[in-house]
């Protein structure tokens, strides 16, 4: 326990540095973008004067470093700023979307992780066998299909032809569990297919590596069945790398799901960030970047913690 607390403590410190880097990087590349919020706002009705006025209003006339400093200062005082595109506070804007994104991510994770692990473990247990090869081909073909194609096919089949599921993921107010199921079925399946393959393959690798360890042979020689040797002996020691792989894959679920959000018209944070880019809405863009980074760091942290919990040596802080 002590170890974990210490880890968390030092991680938070490190994470702050990472976040700083991210914000700087994002701010830098976003400044490469042609045009600015003022122009985007006024579009073609942008007379030079009008643009100038708006720039002043947005404080876009300050040199970039100053703007960055201001933004950072604001953030430190807990103020993420106001969206330039629509004068709402950024945190409110993100808040609405984040809950939705987390919901989608959550459902996907719940489905994808066990699925992937089962695939990985099974193919590890029978590594080299037909099953293994079959799973291998299966997982490969799963990654090999562009997700937008996958999603469209699903829509065509289940929404357009069979009319079982809605083609858009809207959650009606006062939605029942069934509504949720209908709304999420297709996006979740799409994402699962995209993610599972990677996790399954890494799970397999991790377990196979453990299977070559003497203690697994020992378990077999104690009369343990193969499945017992794998599940009770090998798996606990493979947890480290597995959770790491899972963490990396899941980090995709926040920022990576633009396409799914577009196709199913699901209002998540990814498309919000795209919006922020097109509107040159720096405060929003920055906030999103921060968000994704935090999400990533948290996932990695969780991974490391569970690795520690799984490994008594690390647990004791040895």
């Amino acid at each position: 326990m002590k170890v974990i607390l210490r880890l968390i403590a030092q991680r938070i410190g490190v994470s702050l540095i990472t976040l700083l880097i991210v914000s700087a990087v994002v701010f830098f590349i976003a400044n490469l973008l042609p045009g600015d919020a003022a122009q985007e706002m006024l579009g073609q009705s942008a007379t030079p004067e009008a643009v100038a006025e708006l720039r002043e209003a947005y404080g876009l006339n300050d040199p970039p470093p100053v703007r960055y400093a201001k933004w950072l200062g604001g953030l430190l005082t807990g103020d993420a700023g106001v969206s330039l595109a629509n004068d709402r506070p950024v945190d409110a804007l993100i808040g609405e979307r984040l809950s939705k994104s987390l919901l989608l991510a959550g459902f996907t994770a719940v489905l994808a992780v066990p699925f992937a692990m089962v695939l990985g473990i099974v193919s590890a247990m029978y590594s080299g066998s037909r099953i293994d090869k079959a799973v291998n081909i299966f997982t490969l073909s799963m990654v090999a299909v562009p997700e937008f194609l996958l999603a469209t096919i699903l829509v065509l089949i289940f929404a357009v032809e069979l009319n079982w599921l809605p083609s858009l993921s809207y959650i009606p107010r006062d939605a029942t569990a069934y509504d949720y199921f209908r709304a999420f079925a297709m996006p979740v399946v799409t994402l699962c297919i995209v993610l599972s393959a990677q996790m399954a393959r890494l799970t397999r690798a991790a377990v196979v590596e453990q299977l070559s360890q003497p203690y697994v042979e020992m378990a077999l020689l104690k009369g343990a069945t193969l499945s017992r040797a794998v599940l009770r002996h090998a798996l606990p020691n493979a947890v480290g790398p597995i959770v790491n792989a899972i963490a990396l894959s899941l980090s995709y679920l926040l920022g990576g799901v633009v396409i799914v959000e577009v196709i199913f018209n699901y209002p998540g944070v990814a498309s919000l960030m795209v919006d922020a880019v097109t509107n040159r809405d720096m405060p929003l863009l920055q906030a999103c970047a921060m968000l994704f980074c935090v999400g990533y760091l948290i996932l990695v942290l969780i991974a490391d913690i569970s690795a520690i919990v799984a490994n008594p040596k690390l647990r004791k802080g040895g």
């Binding site: 990472t18 490969l140 937008f148 194609l149 920022g255 990576g256 990814a270 880019v277 980074c293």
Partner: protein, 275 residues
């Protein structure tokens, strides 16, 4: 070489032959197109297979086969180059980190974390909006977005190897850091990095097709296979070959590369990762 070939398992041989097939096609493709890839040859769009247009026609009535032959090279060579670049840079930075002092190592790792956490699609969106979409830019973007991943792997491997006696021996000899990294460590992490390269390749292929979905792909009238799928997606309902064939092409390429890499990895007797 020959012996290595025969040593490959069946899956490996299949993979190899497919890879070779595609690479060859990518090279000679543009020269053997039955029609000009950008010419509107047919009035009917989304035609199915026919003697005239073997793979049918696309949404503008262009010959799909010609488009395919012409587009393959983008889906082969950009990812090859990008994945190669990503793995190479990732590996070398990782080696550098592994043999440097803890502080340097830390800083690099933090920076990489930062890079990883920026969604690649959005990164691409920004970069292309800023610099326009050209093959070099696409290459750079994809390479940058997948480099940190390779770095993570390479570093963990390198750190393992760095603690092994033969590296210590070299250190007691007073060898330079560069020598330790390149001559002693690198050869022992090459195999797992190769496997990694295969995965990166797939990722880049898919990222490219995702980009084409967002309208950020290669410049028309050229189109990588992903763009072909995307621009003909409306033909999916009537099951037009224009959308199905490129999709299958992408699938075979990615699967082939991985089958090959997997079988190579299987052949690799020594992996520092497992020590």
């Amino acid at each position: 070489m020959r012996s290595q070939l025969s040593a490959l398992p069946v899956s490996g041989k299949i993979g190899l032959s497919l890879v070779v097939f595609w690479v060859v096609l990518a090279i000679i493709g543009p020269f053997i197109t039955p029609y000009s890839a950008s010419e509107l040859v047919a009035y009917d769009v989304f035609e199915s297979f026919s003697g005239k247009y073997w793979l049918g026609t696309d949404y503008l009535g262009r010959d799909v086969l010609s488009r395919l032959l012409d587009g393959a090279r983008f889906t082969i060579f950009i990812p090859l180059a990008a994945a190669g670049l990503a793995c190479a840079t990732g590996t070398f930075i990782a080696l550098f980190a592994a043999v440097s002092h803890r502080r340097t190592d830390e800083t690099i790792s933090r920076f990489m974390d930062a890079l990883i956490s920026i969604p690649s699609k959005i990164f691409a969106l920004v970069m292309i909006a800023a610099f326009g979409s050209s093959v070099p830019i696409l290459l750079t973007i994809t390479a940058i977005s997948y480099m940190p991943g390779s770095f993570r792997l390479a570093r963990s491997l390198a750190v393992n190897v760095a603690n092994m006696d033969f590296v210590t021996v070299a250190r007691t000899r007073g060898e330079s850091r560069a020598y330790l990294a390149v001559k002693e460590i690198l050869p022992n992490i090459v195999h797992p990095m190769l496997a990694d390269f295969g995965l990166r390749f797939v990722f880049v292929v898919l990222l490219l097709s995702s980009l084409s979905f967002l309208g950020l792909g290669v410049q028309p009238p050229q189109a990588d296979l992903g763009s072909l799928v995307r621009e003909n997606i409306s033909g999916l309902a009537e099951g037009a070959p224009a959308v199905i064939i490129p999709a299958i092409a992408i699938a075979t390429i990615t699967i082939a590369v991985n089958l090959l890499i997997d079988s190579l990895r299987g052949g690799a007797t020594y992996s520092a990762g497992s020590k």
